[in-house]
Symmetry: C2
Subunit: 243 residues, 2 copies
C-alpha cells in the first residue's frame, strides 16, 4: 500500500488534505479515488485512508482508521558508524532503516579515511535515502541521518542509551548474545561500528571506560557497511522485533 | 592477514607451493618473505604460513600450523533466493558469504521479473564475487553460487536440510524466533526468500506441504535483497555463530 509522511496532521478531521511534493507523488503514482493509502505522521501513528480526490497541488483522503504503526520496533536503536568511503553510507542508511533503526549518525574517528570536509553537503541526500527506505519498508518514523565530528561526543550520546554496543575486532570482548541477553527489556540502545580500518585500541578503551559493552560478532570479518546491519538485525531478533 | 584458497593441498609438506593466479596475487599484494599469510583448502582447513619466496609464477610458504578455519559456522546454511533484477544478486552473494552462508542458489518462480535466459553466463562472475567475499571475511570454504530453474526441485532440496525456513509476507506464519528455537541443534538449514514481488499463495502452500516452516520477519517490509541477509543473520545469532 502506498505510504506518505505528512508532518502537519493537526488539521486532520474525518479527511486528510495533502499538499506539495506528496500531492505530486500521489498524482505520479496514478492513485485513483477509492484506492487505499496510508498517511503517517512521522511520529509512529498511521492514518489508514481512502483517496477522495487528487490534483496537481492537493489531494484529499478519507480517514478510515488511526493506529500505531505496526512497523515500529519496541526498542529505539541509534546507529553510530565511523564515516566510510564513497556510497557505503547510502547502503548503511537504506538497510538500517529497513531493519528498524531509529536514527543513523556518522562520526569521525582515528581511522576514517573518507574526507570529512564535504559531509554537510551530503546530509540532504542521506535524509532523502532514509525517507525513501522508511516509506518502502512501512516505518512509522523517518529516521534522521546526521554527522557528528567528535568521537567523545558520540560516545557520550551512545552511552546515554539503556545499552551501548561497541563492535570491536580484537582483545577481550563480550559475545553479542551475552550483551543482548536482556534485549527484550531495552527501550533504547546504541550500536557503534568503525570505519574501514576499525577502531584504535585507545578508542575501544575509551568506549569501555564510558560504559559501552565491547562486543564480538564472531570470527568472520564483516565489512564496515555490513557490520551495523548484522548487529542491528541481531538486536531486533533478540528483542522480539522480527516476529 | 592475506588469505588464499588453494584446491590442491595434497602436495603440502612442511611448505606449500602456490601457482597460477594466487601466485600472481601474492606478487601484486607485494607480500615479502617472512610475512604471515593463510592458505585455505576450501574445505574448512586453514594452513597458517610464512612466505618464503614469491615470483611471477610461483610462491612458497612455510607451514606453521594447520587448524580448522575459525570463520566457519557450526551450521551449514543454504540460501535460496528468487532471482532478483539487476545487480541485487551481487549484493546478496557478497553479504550472505560474509554472514556465513554455505551456498547460494538463485531460482525461478512465478513472480520473477528478471529475464532468466542469460543466467548461465553470469555464474562465473557470481562465483568470483563469492570467492572475493570468502577471502575478505575469513571463510574456510568458497560458497558455491548456482542457478536452479525449477521451483519444485528447489523446495525438494531445501527441505532435505534439518530445517527449511520459507519467508512469506502474509497469512498464517511462524515467528522467526519460534522457527529458530532449536537453532543450536541444526547441522543444516535452508533459507528461502522470494523475488521483488514475493511468492504466489500457491507457492507458499507448496512449501508448507513439502515441510518448510512458513516464517514472518515482522511488520517491516524488507527488500528482496535484504531479506536473505536478515534471515541468515538471525539464524547465525540464534545458533550461537555470532560470538
Amino acid at each position: 500500500m502506498p505510504r506518505f509522511f505528512v508532518n502537519d496532521t493537526e488539521e486532520f478531521g474525518k479527511t486528510a488534505v495533502i499538499r506539495g511534493r506528496d500531492a505530486e507523488h500521489i498524482r505520479v503514482l496514478r492513485l485513483r479515488p477509492g484506492e487505499a493509502m496510508t498517511i503517517c505522521d512521522g511520529r509512529g501513528t498511521d492514518y489508514r485512508c481512502r483517496l477522495v480526490r487528487s490534483d496537481k497541488d492537493e489531494a484529499e483522503a478519507e480517514i478510515l482508521e488511526v493506529v500505531p504503526c505496526p512497523g515500529e520496533p519496541s526498542v529505539k536503536v541509534r546507529i553510530f558508524c565511523g564515516l566510510p568511503k564513497g556510497d557505503k553510507t547510502d547502503y548503511i542508511i537504506q538497510k538500517c532503516v529497513e531493519a528498524g533503526a531509529s536514527e543513523i549518525v556518522f562520526f569521525d574517528s582515528e581511522r576514517v579515511i573518507q574526507r570529512t570536509d564535504g559531509v554537510s553537503k551530503k546530509l540532504e541526500r542521506w535524509n532523502r535515502i532514509s525517507e525513501e527506505a522508511a516509506k518502502q519498508s512501512g516505518r512509522g518514523i523517518i529516521p534522521t541521518v546526521s554527522w557528528m565530528p567528535g568521537f567523545g561526543q558520540m560516545l557520550k550520546e551512545a552511552t546515554e542509551c539503556d545499552s551501548a554496543l561497541f563492535m570491536y575486532e580484537t582483545g577481550k570482548r563480550k559475545a553479542l548474545s551475552e550483551a543482548l541477553k536482556d534485549a527484550k527489556e531495552l527501550n533504547t540502545a546504541a550500536i557503534i561500528t568503525g570505519p574501514e580500518g576499525g577502531f584504535e585500541p585507545s578508542e575501544a578503551e575509551a568506549a569501555r571506560q564510558t560504559g559501552a559493552h565491547i562486543c564480538s560478532m564472531g570470527a568472520r570479518i564483516l565489512r564496515c557497511e555490513t557490520a551495523p546491519v548484522v548487529a542491528l538485525t541481531s538486536l531486533m531478533f533478540a528483542s522480539g522485533n522480527l516476529e
